[in-house]
């Protein structure tokens, strides 16, 4: 079967160590790593800073031992103009999303180990994650397994400039 060559992994959350994530190259509409386009990422590590503005946002940093990934969880679903079209079209859904985000924000505490998934964005020239979801990891081996996943994926998948798909 002929294989299709892709140069993008924008539809999945890539698992990257912090130093690798923070070194992504910004392109006009997305980010790239060694020529591979990426738009979503997953990180896992210890929360080492927390800046909470109720009803607006929660900014926090996740330290995985190789770097600190800045993360932002928006909490302004009910007030931001960005969400205005969705407020008009799906108020119940938006209320639910606001409740989930508020609940997740209360779980993010200094010293907790969290797994964060979201969009790769930038703020003042630095890479950050705009959080889609964040969960607290209670397994003491979770960080180790994440490191090993990141190493395996980097070497076997992300380092290839294009991905072969059957």
């Amino acid at each position: 079967m002929e294989k299709e060559r892709l140069k993008s992994l924008t539809a999945v959350h890539v698992k990257l160590l912090a130093f690798d994530l923070l070194a992504l190259t910004r392109t006009p509409h997305t980010f790239s790593r060694r020529g591979l386009f990426l738009s979503r990422a997953e990180t896992l590590g210890t929360v080492t800073s927390r800046d909470h503005k109720p009803g607006r946002f929660l900014k926090f940093a996740v330290d995985d031992g190789t770097g600190c990934v800045p993360c932002i969880l928006w909490l302004n679903h009910l007030t931001s103009p960005h969400f205005a079209p969705r407020r008009a079209a799906d108020q119940d859904g938006l209320l639910m999303a606001a409740g989930v985000a508020a609940s997740q924000s209360s779980e993010v505490r200094i010293g907790a180990v969290v797994r964060v998934r979201g969009r790769i964005t930038s703020y003042r020239g630095s890479v950050q994650i705009t959080v889609a979801n964040v969960v607290v990891e209670r397994d003491p081996n979770a960080e180790i397994l994440h490191w090993l996943d990141c190493l395996r994926l980097a070497r076997k998948v992300y380092d290839r400039r294009s991905i072969s798909c059957p």
């Binding site: 080492t48 010293g111 703020y123 003491p140 081996n141 180790i144 490191w147």
Partner: protein, 126 residues
Amino acid sequence: MESAVKSGALLSLEDLHPSSPFFADGSSLRVIGKLQEYSSETALAIIVDGSAKLKVNTNHLRDLSFRAGSIYQFIGELHIHQPENEAILQARVGRNVDGIDLNLYHQSLQLVRQFQAERTGNRMAQ
């Protein structure tokens, strides 16, 4: 926030010796070890890993309870006290990690540091 928080470099206690590049005042480190002693009066803890030990100042950690024999992980800054050249970690984050697979942790830590050194050309990471 982004520039204020330094990442704690992954380090085994056995690699923290006076000739190590990490043995420097202000180094941000992440260490792990078994709690040997804890004083609630001074908030000083001593953790051990194999034959290596480290004193950890935990006075900023309000919500952590300490139990001798349990495994703890700390992130913080190293302070070198003279003239004894004694290293004390001023912890800003700590947690109990009882149940961690220490052999897997140490092996994985080496792999992560090796990978990071390959990619960044930073020999400190090795």
